[in-house]
């Protein structure tokens, strides 16, 4: 696992949610929690409903929110690719209670087993240049 997110000085993070937990499958997720950090502190949380449109438009919708990182559970390769090309870093294969996960982000505790989907020891995040060329972090 090589995903780390400790530098949240000023950014927007979206988490796909279901019943106050990380949604198990991003492709069928319906809700997002958007958390805004400023100077390292959480300043707001917003619950949103994902429009039920094809995945390309959904990726565009998330990008329009100004989200830099999306934290989600399982995700198909195609959806992950489209999100990354929309300028969003995808942190997939997470699980757990949303509040606990949000609290763990600035503390750099996302590596804890309770936040990792079983059978997924390979959380990854890709970094891209401005228009979608990927390079592995």
């Amino acid at each position: 696992m090589n995903f780390e997110l400790t530098d949240v000085q000023s950014m927007k993070i979206a988490i796909a949610t279901w019943n106050e937990r990380v949604s198990p499958v991003m492709d069928s997720a319906r809700n997002l929690m958007v958390v805004t950090y400023d100077e390292g502190a959480e300043v707001s949380r917003e619950k949103l409903v994902l429009p039920q449109v094809e995945i390309c438009s959904r990726a565009g919708f998330i990008a329009d929110l100004g989200v830099q990182v999306l934290i989600c559970g399982a995700i198909s390769r195609q959806y992950e690719m489209l999100l990354e090309r929309s300028g969003i870093q995808v942190a997939a294969w997470f699980r757990g209670d949303v509040d606990a996960l949000i609290a763990a982000i600035p503390r750099g505790e996302l590596k804890q087993a309770r936040f990792i989907l079983p059978g997924c020891g390979q959380q990854r995040i890709r970094r891209r240049n401005r228009f979608g060329q990927n390079r592995r972090a």
Binding site: W18, S23, P24, V25, D27, S28, A29, R30, E54, C56, A59, G60, A63, D64, G66, G73, A74, I75, S76, R77, Q78, E80, M81, L82, R85, S86, G87, A92, W93, R95, L117, P118, G119, C120, Q122, R130, F131, G132, Q133
Partner: protein
Amino acid sequence: MIYNYKQDNFTDIILDSIADGVFTIDSEWKITSFNRAAEKITSIPREEALGQRCSDIFRASICENNCALKQTLKAGRPIVNKAVYIIDSSGKKIPISVATAVLRDADGRVIGGVETFRDLSEIMELRRQLHQKYSYQDIISKNSQMLKIFDILPTIAESDSTVLVEGESGTGKELVARAVHNLSPRKSEPIVVINCGAMPDTLLESELFGYVAGAFTDARKDKPGRFAMAEGGTVLLDEIADVSPAMQVRLLRVIQEHTYQPLGSTQPVKADVRIIAASNQNLKKLVTEGKFREDLYYRINVIRIELPPLRERKEDIPLLMEHFIERFNRLKPKQIDSIAPEVLAVLMNYDFPGNVRELENIAEHAFVLCRNSIISMNDLPENFKPQYEESIPAVNSFEDLEARFLVEALKRNNWSRINTARELGIHKTTLWRKMKKYGIDMASR
């Protein structure tokens, strides 16, 4: 509560010998048993699965919004053969069928649920091979014009040229575009579809090309457009005939120079995409009428594929109906075995202005209403019933019946006498003689 798994446990030995994945849950949705096939299909070891929430392990498309086990536990009724997909740890979608049942203890008290699931990947591949004769890349047809298209699709896909797909609404233009993409060297990259007719110019421009921070109020950060999303892949410009003249100029530049400029940017961005355009109107005619730019038309009309309307490929109606019913059988908790001949006869007599999409809607309507295993006239939408009664006069003799039978067979085969004779298993001269006898001539089509 977690049951300890013991290799010598007789129940576990039985479960492990089953080819289908099986898991059980307790009242808190925690996994209490997980057989060997479940490990194999999900790629999750049993010891990692036991005691975990089933949705964190199963990761199926229905977990969040349409859980089969939840429905079973709520209604007390089992669900059989529901087709869904799961996502494995590599991000691959695996098609599966699931069945669920309530789990009770010796006293009949509900203690949880059991779910069995079967990997359909191989079955779907076999089915695809079985139907290969009349199916190609999810397009189903035995119509000669369509078969010619199937033949040239791999060559078109390989070429990387711009493609124009023309055909009435509902004829399957997007399916053809996806087939071209899936057969091309760009198949590992995304295909991005945009409906040009669905949005005004300003929105379409920002959707296609994206924008940079500060391009307009609220543009706080760069936003890549659909061309950037499809980098290395394919962009399908659907309903291109609806694009305004100003937007046509911008698209022309992209196709000519393979570069575009995001809104508010002074820097051109290179676009490594293949462009497929689709239209339900005849673009050549629009060019003649001055409604579509001639230069853009020639840029996108490098390779043109024209899809025939369903009324010109009526021989596909039985095939398509069978395909739709089969698909609904997999998706919904119902089993329909066949379609009554009179239903097919009525559908063969109908012209389908909405083409295959309309037939699919009719199939779904009939599937939902059908109360037994055969789709009958009562299951068809209302507008078919009076038409059916009016359009089919009474049969007074065997000759009447034979004449009508021949006309139906000719319609099914698009009035090809050779194909009709082949279908009926008679010589073409016999068919010709019978047509002459009953006064059926090609002019009556």
